[in-house]
């Protein structure tokens, strides 16, 4: 099991969602809000293009943290995020994190997800049971 100490960086997760990812995520999650899957409508309401689901990006934050324990779905006990910038398909998302506290077998990781300078999720707190 990973030995994690306060201040340690978790391995970065880098994902470039393809053009059709929002459609697949819409089907998987049941969220068919057109701003995610209809580029024309998204532009008509002032967005740069169709945007990623915030909960998809949160899913990547969960994935980056679960990877610390080999993807064990029991390990993530709590995840709290603030969604900020809007993510877009076809641009790389980088999820990075720093161990904020480590007590016994519980660690809390402060996690961020960004596309370039655009922060999608910040102040994400992931509590993991090692």
């Amino acid at each position: 099991m990973a030995d994690l100490n306060v201040g340690d960086q978790i391995p970065e997760l880098r994902v470039t969602p393809d053009k059709y990812l929002p459609h697949r995520y819409a089907g998987a999650s049941g969220d068919f809000n057109p701003i995610h899957i209809d580029d024309e409508l998204a532009k008509a309401v002032g967005l740069p293009r169709n945007i990623l689901h915030g909960l998809y990006t949160m899913g990547l934050v969960a994935k980056a943290n679960a990877a610390l324990v080999g993807g064990d779905p029991r390990a993530l006990r709590r995840l709290s995020v603030q969604m900020r910038g809007m993510g877009v398909p076809e641009q790389e998302i980088v999820v990075s994190g720093t161990v904020k506290s480590a007590e016994g077998d519980r660690v809390v990781v402060d996690t961020v997800a960004a596309q370039g300078d655009n922060t999608l999720i910040k102040n994400a707190e992931a509590e993991i049971q090692l």
């Binding site: 697949r24 995520y25 999650s29 049941g30 915030g54 909960l55 779905p73």
Partner: protein, 146 residues
């Protein structure tokens, strides 16, 4: 105009969701999750699960149907067109596995105005067919220009 807060404390009828293997697979594929416990029943059982197990964030799949009616309730008066999903928290207990029947209730925790924006906070609570706690969710929805 002051924001309407009458709905604070209101609860909505429970929704029930039947977790299935193919839906777990579809979700795991969309997120690029490759652990066999999400795809293969033998691997899941070998890892101590009753059946194929959902990834933690699959919580959105079975709990969001309970949030929809709360957001759209006229008593809440939430301007859906100007809404963004500002924050989300999940706290997990028992894992959700294929075959589980998960019941979720939703409640309005708070409605507040800050810097011209409305902050609507809802809580969901999901339990499985045995009455075991599965996940608690806190959904923060922000409405511009209230």
């Amino acid at each position: 105009m002051a924001i309407k807060t009458d709905a604070v404390g209101k609860e909505w009828p429970a929704t029930t969701y039947q977790v299935g293997r193919e839906k777990i697979k579809e979700y795991a594929n969309a997120l690029g999750l490759d652990s066999p416990v999400h795809f293969d029943v033998e691997a899941a059982r070998a890892a101590g699960f009753r059946d194929v197990v959902a990834p933690p964030m699959f919580a959105v799949v079975y709990s969001s149907p309970a949030v929809g009616p709360a957001i759209l309730d006229p008593e809440v008066e939430l301007n859906f067109a100007a809404m963004v999903h500002g924050g989300q928290e999940f706290e997990w207990a028992e894992p959700a596995c294929s075959g589980d029947e998960i019941t979720t209730t939703a409640k309005c925790l708070s409605i507040e105005e800050k810097d011209g924006k409305g902050f609507y906070v809802f809580e969901t609570n999901s339990v499985n067919q045995d009455g075991a706690q599965v996940v608690r969710g806190t959904w923060t929805l922000i409405v511009r220009g209230v």
